[in-house]
């Protein structure tokens, strides 16, 4: 079983390139926006 994130803890930061090649970090949104992270099960 992989680890999971916990409620009311700092969200683990990450940086990934979006599909257009722009780097996006979770911390980019800090102090600006809430974030809803959606992990999909695949495109159909």
């Amino acid at each position: 079983m992989s680890k999971r994130v916990e409620l009311n803890q700092p969200a683990p930061d990450f940086t990934l390139a979006d599909f257009k090649g722009n780097e996006v970090s979770l911390s980019d949104f800090r102090g600006k926006k809430n974030v809803l992270l959606v992990f999909n099960r695949g495109f159909f």
């Binding site: 999971r4 409620l7 930061d13 979006d18 809430n34 974030v35 992270l37 959606v38 099960r41």
Partner: protein, 111 residues
């Protein structure tokens, strides 16, 4: 995803960015985003780094990855976590939107 698309304006109204992370490559994301006219941030994660970091469940018996949703407030704190146990186990947008509204009210009350 269609449901999220439909309610995207409601998320924006709650000062919330929707970010979709998946194991597909950039070209699969680009095709899907174009075909469905999606407004979200789309992050291909073919090395599964973020998928693992956030513990998305992989079930060999249920054909792949199960859906998961995690929401953070503006302070970067995790405020909502839902790990699906089957492909249809996805929380209603209304439930998440209600929480986002509360999160915003809390933050505003602190200023």
């Amino acid at each position: 995803m269609a449901q999220l698309r439909q309610d995207y304006d409601k998320f924006t109204a709650q000062d919330t960015e929707v970010i979709v992370v998946g194991p597909e490559g950039a070209s699969a994301f680009a095709d899907y985003w174009q075909k469905n006219d999606l407004p979200f941030v789309g992050l291909p994660d073919p090395s599964h780094s973020v998928l693992k970091l956030y513990g998305q469940e992989v079930s060999l018996f249920k054909l792949g990855r199960q859906p998961a949703q995690v929401s953070m407030d503006k302070n970067g704190q995790v405020r909502f976590v839902h790990y699906g146990h089957d492909p249809s186990d996805i929380p209603a947008n209304e439930e998440i939107l209600e929480l986002l509204k509360i999160m915003n009210e809390e933050l505003n009350a602190n200023y």
